[in-house]
């Protein structure tokens, strides 16, 4: 475990924690972007260059932008009464999450695993070959899924006929 790993982990965890705890939704989305950049750095650190850049391209370039758009589109009307959030729900949620975290970490630490040392690299060419041979079917399915999701999202979010724009 190197210093760079610790720094990257800190970025990821702090970003993620910020993403779920800020009260301002825009700040949450931006923190999510920070966490995603951290994750991309982690992937680079682990040698998965392609995944790292894809992570940035997809999450920072697309997902967080979409989230930001959604936040702006669903801003409650000014002067609307804020939703009263019961504190015990929040505490229960955090407690449960903490419990799961404890169990998971315990499980990880309790499992003997040997780490493969030494460099492992995967080139873009390898990935391309794999995608076109072994993983051709999943690739097609993912393509189909993305198309379907695109159309579904457009149909869902498009204002219905005659409806006033929100």
């Amino acid at each position: 475990m190197s210093i760079s790993f610790i720094i990257i982990s800190m970025i990821i965890l702090l970003g993620a924690a910020a993403a779920v705890s800020f009260s301002n939704l825009i700040h949450c989305a931006l923190s999510l972007a920070v966490a995603m950049v951290g994750l991309a750095m982690l992937y680079l650190h682990l040698g998965a260059e392609f995944v790292g850049f894809t992570q940035v391209l997809v999450y920072v370039g697309a997902v967080s932008i979409v989230v930001l758009f959604a936040i702006l589109l669903t801003r409650p009307a000014p002067f609307s009464p804020g939703v009263h959030v019961p504190w015990h729900g929040r505490v229960t949620g955090i407690l449960v999450a903490g419990l799961v975290a404890g169990m998971l970490v315990g499980a990880v630490l309790g499992t003997p695993l040997t780490s493969h040392v030494g460099q492992r690299v995967i080139t873009v060419k390898q990935i391309g070959m794999e995608l076109m041979t072994t993983y051709a079917a999943p690739l097609e399915i993912v393509g189909l899924l993305l198309t379907a999701a695109l159309m579904g999202a457009v149909i869902l979010a498009a204002p219905e006929n005659g409806e006033k724009k929100p």
């Binding site: 475990m1 999510l32 966490a35 682990l46 505490v91 999450a97 695993l113 794999e130 993912v142 999701a149």
Partner: protein, 104 residues
């Protein structure tokens, strides 16, 4: 000294639980989706970690899974946010508490 694989797994566990906490404790649907994204990414970290440190040399399954997982996550967030917008149009709020039509 902790093993690098263990470190990665712990990181992903913590990330997963932060996401889970977000989903459980926050009442905004968009924030819940953000939490779900974090949980998905925790899974991705595991894929990459096992690819990098696992004992199965010469296999690219981890990376491939991560790539597919990213694609699926993108689809998921698009549809999820479209649903959020749709719900917002109906109930004029993004709070999950108002969306309880499945009450028993």
């Amino acid at each position: 000294m902790i093993q690098p694989l263990h470190a990665c797994l712990i990181l992903s566990s913590l990330l997963f639980c932060i996401g889970l906490a977000g989903v459980l404790a926050r009442h905004n649907t968009i924030l819940m989706l953000i939490g779900v994204e974090l949980m998905l990414n925790a899974a991705n970290v595991n894929f990459i970690a096992f690819w990098r440190y696992g004992a199965w040399a010469g296999q690219s399954a981890g990376v491939m899974f991560a790539i597919f997982s990213i694609a699926v996550a993108a689809a998921e967030i698009a549809v999820g946010l479209a649903l959020v917008i749709l719900i917002f149009r109906h109930v004029r709020t993004t709070s999950i508490d108002r969306v309880d039509g499945m009450k028993g």
